[in-house]
């Protein structure tokens, strides 16, 4: 049963073409040249309860636009969104009660006051009873060590702390669904680790469904079983990372260090480079296994050391983006 269902979602914008120079500006007062741009172009997908899905794409692909429509901030031009069977456009308050949203570049924390004040406000707005509030604060403290900076004014927090504060704020009311828009942007290694840990734990403990938009492929690798790639407003891939890798970039590399320089060829592998005693082979996972390749090659020349490289995730994704452009 899909907890989130998106059907033929479209978001169209009017763009007014502006001409340059003084003459153009005056002309614009009277006549306007309008073109329609689709930020989101007929996308459909479903997410099951407890899933963690990554929603990735190049800048301007339509990721944030989609999340905004899912959270009810923006009205779609056409199409349907159902969250727990309700439309965020038609029943905003009810949907939002069960939703936690964090936008990486904006904060909902009160800038001037200590972090705790915002939580107090949220407690009242979401009508969280004392017991649940205590429980959640404790849980968030375990994951994030919130108590360390809950008394600091938000304007004095570091970016990592502020992001943690925002994530905690989004979870205070125990929502079933979380939308995280670029939560690790600009964070240092430690902070990123913390955020990823949070996501994994929340998902494990509470079965929270999470949609994560990100540019950080480390996030994708660490967290996401499901990957949706969007480009130019259209979904170009939807599946698990492994499936994707198998389909788009099913190559692996084998690096062999021989005892003596040797040039060994193999029908099922491409010899990419030879440098003294080191040879690099490229081969397809589905055509031959690494073990078999090593075995075959070793019959021709004795092997000293072996190294195996999986396809780099960056390359996989970039290939996917380009495929989408075509």
């Amino acid at each position: 049963m899909n907890i989130i269902k998106v059907n033929h979602l479209v978001k169209e914008y009017k763009k007014i073409k502006k001409e340059k120079g003084l003459k153009g500006a005056v002309k614009n007062l009277f006549v306007q040249d309008i073109e329609y741009v689709r930020a989101v172009d007929d996308i459909s997908f479903g997410i099951e309860k407890g899933d963690i899905a990554a929603y990735i794409g190049p800048n301007g692909a339509g990721k944030s636009t989609t999340v905004k429509m899912l959270s009810g901030i923006m009205q779609p031009s056409s199409g349907e969104i159902l969250i727990n069977g309700m439309s965020p456009q038609k029943e905003r308050k009810r949907v939002v009660r069960n939703l936690g949203v964090v936008f990486g570049q904006r904060s909902q924390l009160n800038w001037n006051l200590r972090l705790g004040e915002t939580y107090d406000l949220l407690k009242r707005i979401y009508q969280i009873d004392d017991a649940l509030y205590e429980k959640n604060v404790k849980m968030l403290d375990e994951i994030f060590q919130i108590s360390e900076f809950i008394d600091t004014p938000v304007r004095q927090l570091s970016l990592g702390q502020r992001m943690r504060g925002d994530l905690a704020a989004a979870m205070l009311h125990s929502p079933e669904i979380l939308f995280l828009d670029e939560p690790t942007i600009g964070l240092d290694v430690e902070a990123k680790y913390s955020v990823r840990k949070f996501i994994k734990e929340i998902n494990a403990r509470n079965k929270t469904t999470i949609i994560l938009t990100t540019h950080d492929l480390g996030d994708v690798q660490e967290l996401c079983r499901r990957l949706i790639i969007i480009n130019n407003g259209k979904i170009i891939e939807d599946g698990s990372l492994d499936e994707l890798a198998d389909r788009i970039a099913p190559y692996r590399r084998l690096i062999i260090d021989f005892y003596h320089p040797a040039v060994v060829r193999h029908p099922k592998a491409e010899l990419i480079s030879v440098d003294e005693a080191r040879a690099v082979y490229k081969f397809r996972k589905d055509e031959i296994t690494a073990a078999r390749l090593i075995e075959d090659i070793s019959r021709t020349a004795p092997i000293k050391e072996v190294g195996l490289q999986e396809a780099k995730i960056d390359d996989i994704i970039r290939t996917a983006y380009h495929a989408g452009q075509a």
């Binding site: 502006k18 120079g21 003084l22 500006a25 005056v26 614009n28 007062l29």
Partner: protein, 263 residues
């Protein structure tokens, strides 16, 4: 010089982009003009000349005053405050042109836009509603232009000085309100000072504010004799120079402060 002209041109361009702003501004200003005219008409209620000015003259005064109000909008104080707050003031000091010159060029650009977008339509509409606000004589008009220009600079410098307070105070909200309010009242833009009791009036007429609105407007409606005009304009120029010197000194101090604190 070219750089400043270019800045003015860019301002005009971006301002032209906001047509909705323009129409709504004109509408509201017309309403204000109408309201003030009604106020004076009701006040005069047919009586002839009060405190030396007749009803028709006051209507002219009001109309031109509102038009002037639109031409005298000063962005400079906001810009100085903004640059202090965001810290860009340090960067500005590095540019090869005088940043205040740039601000002035921007404000002049704004004024040029305001003239065509707002002043002219207001003049036309006002004329239709209340009769064309003719100056007392051609000579008066010329002197009015001179007086207006000097008044513009006085206003600009005052706004700039206020903006400079941002170097010390950082947050400007209430001060700006007081200033706006003081300007309205003391400059005679809404109610000319000659309606005020003598004691107040004499005191206030020595302050620079009068010279921004009341003096040019008074000249326009022919309230002053030539001799009076001469002395008053001289006072106006005097204030302009004094303020300019203060501004110059403040500039230097501000630059020094920035260089020490590093922006």
């Amino acid at each position: 010089m070219k750089a400043y002209l270019f800045v003015t041109k860019i301002r005009i361009q971006s301002a032209l982009a906001y047509r909705f702003n323009v129409i709504s501004t004109i509408l509201i200003q017309c309403l204000l003009m109408f309201a003030m005219a009604c106020f004076w008409k009701a006040a005069y209620g047919g009586t002839g000349v009060v405190s030396g000015t007749g009803e028709q003259d006051m209507l002219t005064y009001t109309m031109i005053s509102i038009i002037m109000g639109n031409l005298l909008t000063m962005g400079v104080e906001g810009r100085i405050e903004g640059s202090v707050r965001t810290g860009s003031v340090a960067l500005d000091m590095l540019k090869p042109v005088n940043i205040y010159g740039i601000y002035l060029a921007e404000d002049l650009g704004d004024m040029a836009v305001a003239f065509f977008q707002i002043a002219v339509p207001l003049l036309i509409i006002g004329s239709v509603m209340f009769g064309f606000p003719a100056p007392a004589s051609f000579v008066c008009f010329i002197i009015f232009l001179l007086s207006f220009s000097i008044g513009y600079f006085i206003n600009w410098i005052l706004a700039g000085l206020l903006g400079m307070c941002a170097f010390r105070v950082i947050s400007m909200g209430p001060i700006r309100n007081v200033k706006g309010f003081i300007m309205k009242l003391l400059s005679g833009s809404v109610i000319p000072l000659w309606f005020f009791p003598d004691g107040f009036r004499v005191f206030l007429e020595f302050l620079p504010f009068v010279n921004i609105y009341q003096l040019p407007l008074g000249i326009y409606i022919g309230r002053y004799t030539f001799e009076e005009m001469f002395w008053r304009t001289a006072l106006q120029m005097f204030w302009c120079m004094v303020l300019w010197l203060i501004f110059h000194a403040a500039q230097k101090k501000a630059a020094a402060a920035v260089l020490i604190q590093g922006g």
